[in-house]
Symmetry: C2
Subunit: 407 residues, 2 copies
């Protein structure tokens, strides 16, 4: 007998019929002799409806009241799912964030979980009840309702699994698991059987949208095994877990791409200490996230600095950088929003040389020019012209032999 935490997203509980299907799956897991805790999101579309209502009310709703409003979405789902399980003859009980309690900091609309109570839930499980928990929501020290940001139900599920020391945290979604790359780009992309937390974090932050990043960080911290799988079939999905020896034998686990960044270059900057701070401080103050940063060795006392920002922030960033460039005596600023970032990720590259060279050679052989490079222990990213994105992903997927067999 295991303790299983299951999380179902908005599309899996989008209608009363779909909730009925979820109830059947939950019941089956219970009938197999497991203790079951279910975390659910709001019915698909509900959160958007509530957000629209708040915007109809006023332009800049306070975050505290926004949380009071949007947290009703999950509240509706837990009640309906519990009712359904009860009508099928099971004991079931719903829990709101404050009833568990899920204690968070007081950062409304993007709160972080600090602590999870397990006493109430354990008591119910002991009594043979299926426990149904509202995802996405918590409560701060003053008793205010908080929410965890979009995708926060993933984090709720992992946190509850950690708090209860569950055997597995199953995250049900509309895809079969985590793939070696986007199957819309590479038709023979294959499902990854298991992947380390570190790789999953790189995958998530580099553009794969299966899990909320914070949920993976949480799982890593508390060593929770996540099983990402489809709510529409019984196929095994992808296990996200602690790195093991087997994983290291794989050079590259996945290829990702991201077209949401733009490139800015500041040219011929007089090279002296503090110029980087001069350029980036105004961006930080304006809440613009800088991703890759490249500064070459200085040449006759001058250097060039290149970095990427989210495409949506390019205009605002350019204005700030042009101001700074004038002040620090740079010769000019150029920008380019026709770029993309392709990356290869794998814990195996830590113990194997030549992975980066193999990537560069493969891109070069297809005539793809590399504009920027950045590396970490387990990934290599290259910025290229955006029209080559799909080509680059396919080439890298091939050269590192990630395709599924028999296709």
């Amino acid at each position: 007998m295991a303790l299983v935490v299951q999380k179902y997203g908005g599309t899996s509980v989008g209608t009363t019929d779909k909730i009925r299907n979820v109830a059947k799956r939950v019941a089956r897991t219970y009938d197999e002799g497991n203790d079951v805790v279910v975390i659910v999101s709001a019915m698909a579309g509900e959160t958007n409806k509530l957000v629209a209502l708040s915007q109809e009310m006023c332009e800049f709703p306070s975050e505290r009241e926004y949380d009071v409003l949007v947290s009703t979405g999950e509240q509706v789902t837990i009640a309906l799912l519990s009712m359904c399980l009860q009508s099928m003859g099971y004991k079931a009980k719903s829990y709101l964030g404050h009833q568990i309690p899920v204690k968070t900091d007081n950062a409304s609309a993007r709160a972080r979980i600090k602590e999870i109570g397990d006493e109430n839930i354990r008591e119910d499980l002991k009594n043979g009840s299926i426990v149904v928990v509202a995802g996405f929501q918590g409560i701060d020290d003053e008793g205010n309702i908080t929410t965890l940001g979009r995708g926060g139900s993933d984090t709720s599920a992992v946190a509850v699994a950690a708090g209860l020391k569950a055997d597995v945290c199953e995250i049900y979604t509309d895809v079969d698991g985590v793939y070696t790359t986007d199957p819309r780009i590479v038709s023979n992309a294959s499902k990854i059987e298991k992947i380390s937390y570190e790789e999953m974090l790189e995958m998530a932050s580099l553009g794969a949208k299966v899990l909320q990043i914070r949920s993976v960080e949480f799982a890593k911290k508390y060593n929770v095994v996540i099983h990402v799988r489809s709510s529409f079939n019984d196929n095994p999905g992808t296990l996200v877990m602690k790195e093991d020896a087997e994983m290291e034998t794989v050079l590259v686990s996945g290829v990702t791409c991201n077209k949401d960044e733009a490139k800015i270059s500041v040219l011929r900057i007089p090279d002296h200490p503090g110029i980087a701070a001069d350029i980036f401080s105004p961006l930080t103050e304006a809440n613009i996230t800088v991703d890759m940063i490249i500064q070459n060795v200085s040449h006759e006392g001058f250097t060039d600095l290149t970095f990427t920002v989210p495409k949506g922030d390019l205009k605002k960033a350019l204005k700030l950088v042009e101001e700074t460039a004038g002040n620090i005596g740079a010769s000019g600023v150029t920008s380019d929003d026709k770029v993309a970032k392709v990356s290869i990720i794998g814990v195996g590259m830590r113990s194997h040389c030549g992975v980066a060279s193999k990537m560069f050679a493969a891109l070069s052989a297809e005539g793809v020019n590399i504009q920027m490079i950045s590396t970490s222990e387990i990934k290599v990213s290259c910025v290229i012209e955006d029209k080559y994105t799909e080509l680059a992903v396919r080439v890298l997927h091939d050269v590192f032999e990630l395709g599924s067999q028999g296709e």
Copy 2:
């Protein structure tokens, strides 16, 4: 400076535009130098939508989960109203039942308030905040969400007013106040300026649907002055308050009617102790409310017993009564669902004779036969044939001079 509690029902907060109007009225009360606590219902139609969703899910939803579901309606409204007040430049903070807390018993879907916390709200009022409270909901000792039954927001408002010792509890609705009778029946029905709790209780339970009965009981117990008024104009409404000398000078305050009852007679019962218990116990067990009961003096050892039940329960009641009638040796059972109850109410009749006779004479003069009579200290009710209902109400309204002047 006064402490004012205001309650707005579903039609007053039915759209974001209407919520904006409520916010303006709340703000005006605040600007006049008052501390303001606002209790709101769910947006009109929302509770019905949620109930429909639960029925789509299963036939007999558990009451605990039903409360989790329907309480989201008020949660949406408090968030929107608070946002609106904030966007107008006011400090505002929303409160859910469990945040106040509104402690209730554990009777899901029809909970009774046991205790109201006032510390948190007082703190906010001291800081210059307008406090916005979700009506209809509370929390039991185990932390389960409870609801107070349909119309429960009235009771929430009175309970909060009692807990805070507010100067007045204003209940905003879509009518101007409490009328001497139903204006749809009598065109010159007049608004009552003030009415005692006792009279209001009789009015409410006899068919006037302005306030939830329980809210009036609560107000009476804690001596809360209720001001029933319209949210669409600034007219003074009706004060519901402790009886004063002035009220006693009025013989009759109002006339009500109720067409929702049916009459059952058990004929020629051998008269010995215990027959009433034999007849009514099965009805109590079946949860059927018996209203008027008439038993005449016995005649040659036999008596007749007549009583009324809600029309919807007539069939079920008849079946039970016919069984009993056979057992106790009565000669037969008759029933009539073409009846109505008209009543006159007034604390003045305690100290004046002849009020009942005047009523009987007035009905008789119009050829209306009286089938049953029941009286209390402050009311007289007559059961008549239902086709005479409107005529009877008009006649009584006239004879006790309740019509407004100049009409």
